[in-house]
């Protein structure tokens, strides 16, 4: 063959390769754009709220509701805990960075094969994190005890969290077993089935979680039972059970939660809420708030948000883990753990924002069901007083840590509801 002909064939081949590369790139960009659009649409749908769009919350002067000494005390109380939390997070990242660099050496402690060794490395990562964070946890216990917010002892705090680590390890083991099995089979594309699979597991966990809450009994006060039934009817969630959980004596702050899905859904009131510190109308507001979560499908939405987080997160983990041969190999686990935790911390402001959005909707729902803004205001004051919560924290603290609207915002919402109901 003449040299010019072979050069022409080579050039044609190169042009063909370049065209194929361009086509692949175009398809990839198109697929990415479609996925991003679907992601944005799903986020928009999950963000929908029944709180009126034009609702304007006025700035509440918290001094009208709380004494100056309480405001000083609560601000100092919360700042310490938040700074303690930030330091604990910094240590967490530092420990995981060190672990990502040298954690693979602990593979010699395993005789468990590929997946079992990955599970061991994952658990040891969390174990090191526990060790590094224990001083901060003890500092928080010391601070809370000093402010009479908690009666928990130091030893019991440590022992409980040590044993809780065992429960956490069970979930770590399950998650890593699933992930590494998928990664072993599907190589770099494991994250595609992993994200929906984990969302499905979260759904299952939400479904069965009511059965895992210990020491609950049905609400016994017949007046409250009647209130709960009436509120459930008003919020179109008839048949939702309301139970009381006997929390340990060391716990003093009042709380409640909505748990379960469909037939397992229920409202759980902590016994600290029904110990006489709160009036019947105030407890009714709490019940209505939790029923509001159920009525607006917040538990299901949380699974949806988790899925939206998991899709890019698992893709990124898969990408980074390739530096250690992919997540199918145990030595990639420490690095994957670091990426996951950094992603969790980086998305903390987004997650608290979503949580505040849902809590605001539940507050609004409670106001619509109870028609009792006075009781709601009184409840919010009582909650802040009992847990020494800062009613109006600084912006950085709000963005990073506030998973509920501030007490000032919640009071403002009661006022906004009053204005709207009078206007009608």
């Amino acid at each position: 063959m003449a040299p010019s002909a072979s050069a022409e064939i080579a050039a044609r081949g190169w042009r063909g390769d370049a065209q194929a590369t361009r086509r692949r790139l175009l398809l990839s960009v198109l697929a990415f754009a479609l996925a991003a659009a679907a992601w944005a649409w799903a986020a928009h749908e999950l963000w929908r709220s029944s709180v009126p769009a034009g609702l304007s919350l006025t700035q509440v002067d918290v001094h009208r509701f709380f004494s100056a000494s309480f405001l000083r005390r609560s601000a100092s109380f919360e700042r310490f805990l938040e700074i303690d939390g930030v330091l604990a997070d910094l240590v967490l990242v530092a420990v995981l960075v060190a672990y990502a660099r040298g954690g693979h050496r602990l593979m010699r402690e395993s005789a468990a094969g590929r997946i079992g060794t990955g599970i061991l490395l994952g658990m040891l990562g969390f174990a090191l994190v526990w060790l590094a964070q224990a001083p901060f946890e003890l500092a928080a216990v010391w601070w809370e005890r000093g402010h009479h917010v908690s009666r928990q002892g130091y030893v019991s705090a440590l022992v409980e969290s040590f044993l809780a680590l065992g429960g956490q390890f069970v979930f770590v083991a399950l998650a890593l077993a699933v992930t590494m099995a998928l990664a072993g089979r599907m190589r770099r594309w494991w994250w595609l089935p992993a994200a929906p699979l984990f969302a499905a597991l979260a759904l299952l966990s939400a479904l069965v979680s009511p059965y895992l809450i210990a020491k609950t009994h049905p609400l016994q006060d017949p007046v409250l039972v009647a209130d709960a039934r009436e509120l459930a009817a008003r919020e179109h969630v008839r048949g939702t059970r309301v139970v009381v959980q006997d929390v340990p004596r060391a716990v003093t702050d009042p709380n409640a939660e909505a748990v379960g899905l469909g037939p397992t859904r229920r409202v759980v009131l902590w016994s600290t809420l029904t110990d006489g510190r709160f009036t019947r109308p105030e407890i009714a507001v709490v019940i209505a708030h939790e029923l509001g979560h159920i009525a607006h499908g917040h538990l299901l939405k949380r699974v949806g948000w988790l899925a939206l987080f998991l899709i890019p997160a698992t893709a990124l983990i898969a990408l980074v883990a390739r530096r250690r041969g992919g997540l199918g190999r145990p030595e990639a686990v420490p690095l994957a753990l670091l990426v996951l935790v950094v992603l969790e911390l980086a998305t903390l402001p987004l997650r608290t924002m979503v949580s505040r959005h849902e809590e605001a909707e539940a507050d609004w729902s409670a106001l619509r069901a109870t028609h009792d803004p006075v009781a709601a205001r009184s409840l919010f004051r009582g909650l802040a007083t009992a847990s020494l919560g800062d009613p109006d924290p600084p912006a950085w603290s709000y963005v990073l840590f506030a998973d509920h609207p501030t007490i000032a915002q919640r009071i403002a919402m009661t006022q906004a509801w009053e204005v709207r109901s009078h206007a009608r």
Partner: protein, 282 residues
């Protein structure tokens, strides 16, 4: 006594001696002789108690040693249907020692799930062996893996062995390994009355169980401080795991061999267990 770290082991070794003596009384009445296993267990417990009191009363400066190999001298080498092979240099990672209990949680959950299936398989195995006098190979394999896995998990939890075990109970995969003989013909009478026959072994198993936990708790502190599991605690723990596995295997109709109630010499693992790091390196 309360301040003595060996007091728990002392109580448990005496508990073992009492249980073995109690069973030995019946055996002597029935057979006209004391079975060697029970006799050795009594001697083991009494011997350790004597060492402990002698040390306490300053008759000797030699620290008490509950290792049956030291107390009784040469241990019998046996070829039971279920035996234990141990390969361990005593080294322990302090990190995995400190978190040993939570690290075992996933295994305990998995073991609990496996136990449900094992119960069904055991019933099927019992019925099949009663009918044919021979455990079906597939059930024997499944239940052997279950018994082996249980021994691996307890070996890890009680610090009898160091590495984190796998989840499949694979043969030859662990440092404290059970060797289970292939299925053999069993007497239908022995199979039919297995639940009754296992009762004496259960009594002794309870005593071995207490000994195991005492060794594990003391060993946890020792390994955390020194980075090593003392031989004098590891060996009694290994004896206990071996006996408990023999009882389980007998109960699950894997074998007709009655559990040997005394200490015996563990076999050496033929080939070193390869760690995950070695496996990854090919």
């Amino acid at each position: 006594m309360l301040g003595n770290p060996n007091s728990a082991a002392f109580n448990d070794s005496l508990g073992l001696a009492h249980a073995a003596a109690f069973l030995g009384w019946f055996a002597c009445i029935a057979l006209g002789r004391m079975p060697r296993g029970l006799r050795d267990s009594v001697a083991w417990g009494v011997g350790f108690g004597a060492q402990l009191w002698a040390y306490l009363f300053m008759l000797t400066s030699v620290y008490p040693d509950p290792d049956p190999g030291v107390l009784l001298g040469e241990l019998p080498r046996r070829s039971d249907a279920v035996g234990m092979a141990l390969r361990d240099d005593g080294r322990r990672s302090r990190l995995t020692v400190f978190f040993r209990l939570p690290l075992t949680f996933p295994h305990l959950v998995w073991l609990a799930l496996w136990s449900l299936l094992a119960l069904l398989a055991a019933i099927a195995n019992w019925l099949a062996t009663l009918a044919t006098a021979h455990p079906p190979a597939v059930l024997h394999r499944f239940l052997s893996a279950y018994v082996r896995y249980q021994a691996h998990v307890y070996g890890f939890l009680t610090l009898t062995a160091n590495p984190f075990p796998g989840f499949a109970g694979a043969a030859g995969s662990y440092d404290a390994e059970l060797e289970i003989a292939p299925p053999e013909r069993q007497s239908r009478w022995s199979v039919g009355f297995r639940l009754l026959l296992v009762l004496p072994a259960w009594l002794l198993a309870a005593a071995f169980g207490s000994l195991l936990w005492a060794a594990a708790i003391l060993g946890w502190f020792a390994a955390l401080i020194t980075g090593r599991m003392p031989r004098r605690l590891r060996n009694p723990a290994a004896q206990a795991i071996r006996y408990l596995a023999q009882v389980n295997a007998y109960l699950l109709v894997l074998t007709a061999d009655y559990p040997y109630g005394g200490p015996c010499a563990p076999a050496e693992l033929a080939a070193p267990v390869r760690t995950a790091a070695e496996l990854a390196l090919g």
